[in-house]
């Protein structure tokens, strides 16, 4: 019996070249892979290997020099800025390395802002933001501003924010890079729980080999090329 696997991403010959004066830097060099629904995949590699560049291509924060990214069977590399913003808002959650919370908003407001943008009803997005902050263990820190939270707490607020619009995929760029061991463990366990309990597909960038144990699949990049799959 053949089981049909639904694919979240299909990446084909993805190349990204940066030009600095006459110097050409191939950050991604013909990367191809597929990501099934429900996966928890790590992108690993040394510093400068192209991990974050690849994640930004998946998160539609940047455009490739060539190649294609198919998201949910739709080619997305040539969409307009507005269409890409809509896709990011409705289907993707992005967690930045350095938390990237909005300093003038409370934890609760940071989480529900994308819900407000998506046009959800006020009661719905505010209640869901509370649930998500509960889920990441910050139910009692709703009214706290980012500067009043630790690095690990800020990163968990960022994860809750990424989930507010029930995204199909969560993209996390070295979410534990600036955290201590205890906070890192809490964040990674949160991601695993989200993957297992909510079925959210997760792609995370990490340079820490210890994170392998949390993931279901893996690609390793070196000089913009995939050198290992697992």
């Amino acid at each position: 019996m053949i089981e049909l696997i639904s694919l979240m991403f299909e990446v084909s010959a993805l190349t990204k070249i940066y030009h600095t004066g006459r110097v050409e830097l191939r950050a991604l060099d013909g990367v191809s892979f597929s990501l099934p629904d429900g996966d928890l995949m790590a992108i690993m590699g040394r510093s400068g290997s192209g991990k974050s560049t690849l994640l930004r291509q998946l998160g539609l924060l940047d455009r490739p020099t060539s190649g294609s990214v198919v998201f949910e069977k739709k080619e997305v590399t040539r969409l307009s800025e507005g269409e890409r913003a809509n896709l990011r808002l409705s289907y993707m959650g992005y967690v930045f390395q350095e938390y990237a919370l909005l300093g003038e908003l409370t934890a609760h407001q940071n989480v529900y802002l994308p819900g407000m943008m998506a046009g959800d009803k006020q009661n719905n997005y505010q209640a869901r933001a509370r649930e998500l902050l509960d889920l990441v263990g910050l139910g009692k820190r709703l009214k706290h501003y980012p500067k009043e939270l630790s690095g690990g707490e800020q990163q968990r607020v960022a994860i809750a924010r990424a989930l507010i619009n029930r995204p199909k995929v969560l993209l996390a760029d070295e979410p534990c890079a600036n955290l201590d061991t205890v906070s890192s463990k809490a964040v990674m366990e949160t991601l695993v729980r989200l993957n297992n309990e909510l079925g959210v597909t997760i792609v995370l960038v990490s340079h820490d080999p210890a994170d392998r144990k949390y993931t279901k699949s893996l690609i390793v990049l070196s000089d913009g090329k995939i050198v290992e799959r697992g």
Binding site: R56, G59, L61, D62, E81, G82, A85, N86, R88, L89, S90, Y94, F96, A100, L101, L102, G103, E104, L105, Q109, L113, P114, M116, M117, A118, G119, Y145, R161, A162, N165
Partner: protein, 402 residues
């Protein structure tokens, strides 16, 4: 659009609430000062024009001037025409005048004037010259051999008068002066009074009673060189002019504005000055908002990048800055309107500006306040939009990571 507006409003509100209070307060203060300037200059110029116009109408021209349009410079059957004009809806009163050039002399000083023959009681219903006496008293119907002089003619020992050097210099009420009329008739007059209306054209006038002037030129009997008409404040000058025109042929009917081109050119000049100052003020307001927004946007470039990365649309972000600019401008406009109405205007009213034509009071009202407020808001919106538009053109990654 509604959700964009909702998000924009939310972002603008939190940015004002949690932003740097000092920056917000300073911005509002600068915009308030600019707005006050937008109110003050037109109000002052308008006050000046209004004051000049009032002086012109009340001491020199009247509201409507009727002259002969025929070969004869005199209007015949003036009493009948006066009665007809007074019957027109909107006309308050009329005052016929005759005029004859004369050279006045006192001691060694000479001055050329046009002596006006008036009916004092009618004259007082059209003009307010009788309210500006600085010496002596006003003319009466039966006065003979008496003359009423403007201060710029008499001099009255007031060297600071603009035309003192061309006046009779030391004439006071009770002095006797010699008048030699253009028809060669000499008359010696006792100066009955001197008036100072603080309006040069008015203060260059000299009055005798109509009966007195008819002794100089008997042809004036029953006729007038001109008829001055006063109308209700609510009456339309155009309509009254039209009605007077129907009464009789051979009349030239002018409004005070037609008659005194000097006021029109002064008003036009003030409007040009006002426009130039408005443009400067608007530029100051726009540049202020631009700088504040530019610094704010530069400081928040990363935040804007993050907002875009999590799916906040460019229009929402731009709108949030516009709403912020709008808020600052509205607060400043309201503050300026209140300060102008309840502080500046009462203060100026108790210490009015002195101009050659007398005290000038600020003239304002809802249209002025609305105009200044609207100008400030439009300038603030345009100025706030430019830096945001530039910031939103930057790639998300550049905005977040530089």
């Amino acid at each position: 659009m509604l959700k964009s507006l909702r998000v924009a409003g939310f972002l603008a509100f939190t940015s004002i609430k949690k932003g740097n209070f000092g920056v917000v307060a300073l911005t509002v203060l600068i915009l308030t000062i600019v707005s006050l300037n937008l109110l003050f200059v037109p109000s002052l110029l308008n006050g000046l024009v209004t004051s000049a116009n009032d002086k012109l109408k009340n001491t020199y021209a009247g509201d409507i001037i009727i002259e002969s349009a025929t070969a004869s410079s005199l209007i015949p059957d003036v009493e009948g025409l006066d009665n007809s004009i007074e019957g027109i809806n909107g006309v308050t009163s009329v005052a016929p005048r005759n005029s004859l050039g004369a050279e006045l002399s006192f001691a060694n000083q000479r001055a050329n004037v046009v002596v006006l023959g008036i009916v004092p009681e009618q004259e007082k219903t059209v003009f307010t010259v009788d309210k500006h006496l600085i010496e002596g008293s006003y003319l009466e119907a039966g006065d003979r051999d008496q003359i009423l002089l403007g201060a710029q003619v008499a001099g009255a020992d007031r060297p600071k008068l603009e035309l003192y050097s061309r006046s009779l210099k030391e004439v006071h009420a009770g002095d006797k002066i010699l008048a030699v009329y253009a028809n060669g008739v000499p008359k010696t007059y006792t100066v009955k009074g001197i008036f100072y209306a603080e309006f040069i054209q008015a203060d260059l006038q000299a009055f005798v009673s109509e009966a007195e002037l008819e002794t100089v030129n008997p042809q004036f009997a029953g006729k007038a060189s001109s008829i001055r008409v006063k109308i209700d404040n609510q009456a339309s000058e155009t309509e009254v002019v039209s009605e007077i025109g129907k009464l009789r042929d051979g009349l030239r009917i002018l409004t005070w504005e037609d008659y005194a081109g000097i006021v029109r050119s002064m008003t036009d000049s003030f409007n040009v000055i006002n426009t130039i100052l408005d443009v400067v003020n608007i530029l100051v307001a726009a540049i202020t908002v631009f700088i504040v927004t530019y610094i704010d946007v530069t400081n928040r470039r990363r935040q804007i990048g993050i907002q875009r990365a999590i799916g906040i649309t460019r229009s929402s972000i731009a709108l949030s800055y516009l709403l912020r600019g709008l808020f600052l401008a509205i607060v400043a406009a309201i503050a300026a309107s209140l300060a102008f109405t309840y502080i500046v205007m009462p203060l100026e009213a108790s210490h009015p500006f002195r101009f050659p034509l007398g005290n000038v009071y600020l003239v304002s009202g809802l249209p002025y306040l609305a105009r200044a407020g609207l100008t400030l808001v439009v300038a603030a919106l345009v100025a706030a939009f430019l830096p945001v538009w530039l910031a939103l053109r930057i790639r998300i990654l550049d905005a977040i990571w530089g």
